[in-house]
Amino acid sequence: MSTKIAFTTNKGGLDDKIAERLGRAQTFTVVEVDDEGNVLSVEIVENPGARAASGAGIRAVQKLVDMKVDIVVGPNPGPNAYMALQQANIKLYVLPGLTVKDALDKILIEL
């Protein structure tokens, strides 16, 4: 079993910081880890919410659902994104301002 964790980022990658926006983050850095906490893959995907005039939160979460993400790490989401995350059963960790790497370490301890 592996877990997919999406980090809200702008440039993307392990060294980028967690973005201050969820729906309008430029990218998601998606990290797949196995049960022992080993990183299996790191992928940077574009967030369609960043380009949307409105409905950014919903579009962003739709993308996360399509990618079968289990956990999202970001800032406090907007009302629509929050509702969608709850309904899609995606766990949310609010850790703004950290780098992806540091946030990942924190989460792996909790898992």
């Binding site: 201050e20 309008r24 409105s54 406090n76 907007g78 929050y82």
Partner: protein, 327 residues
Amino acid sequence: MSSSDLIEIVIASGKGGVGKSTIAASLAIILRNSGYRVTAIDADAEAPNLHLVLGIDRWDRVIEYHEGRIGSIRDDKCIYCGYCYDSCAFNAVEEKDGKYIINPWICEGCFTCSFVCPVKAISFKYNVLAGHIRIAYKTPYKFPLVSSKIKPGRPNSGKLVTEAKNLGRSISGGKGVIIVDAAAGIGCQVIASLAGSHMAILVAEPTPASFSDLRRIHKITKHFGIPSALIVNKYDLNKVFVQEIMRYAEKENIELLGLLPYDHAVPRSMAINKPVIYAYPNSSVVKSIIETSNKLLAILRNWENWKLKHIPEKIEPFIPIIIKPGS
């Protein structure tokens, strides 16, 4: 960049006409005069008027903002079947002199007509000019102003506000204070104004309508985990009702920054496009604005502590409404 290098303060109210722009302009001027690096952003793209309150009438840079799409029917391919006319949910397809045309003011760009068109006669123009972002780098107040402006008829856009905010942040160089004058309401633009900001100054007047809207906007600031402060404007119009608003603020851990009296100096200064603190420096409202600003300055000096004390505890849980068929 740590958050204390740059503090983004959003002035929001839910209800319109309570004094957001007047307060935003006054706070920006006073913070700048107190030595802070200030960047002002007008995030009310539908009705931008912070520049009018500040009396700014020329821009150093105007950036076009493009987005959305509009359909059009190619006359050489159209077979006049009328399927597009029948299917458009917005009635944007019109019949004129036996031809079908799409009214660009009504078209939402939903693609329904192009799905039903049997001969693929409908094409879409993308990235339509939808608004502008205007920048005044040099103003008499020694701070830059970024103003977003949506084209009439184009949909309300959180993306435009986000781009104006991003521009303002880069102009600020990641330092000082950003004052964001948000739109009324709690919609997409206001969400975009609040998301990622560090402090909300909520403005209310002592009326039930304003109080109701205050609670609605406060739900959003709590949602984003943004610490909030409150200014009650025109408080002397109903001193009894002010007590009710203050009780709410206390219960919800919203710091009361100040009470501003109703004063004709405000509309008079607006009529001459001059900030009230320069037009009527001895008026009672300006005295209260200065007291209010002093309280804000004290918060900024003690920012990390204040933030920790006033950050909302947790997001309000969302309770989905499930409607079962037949019930």
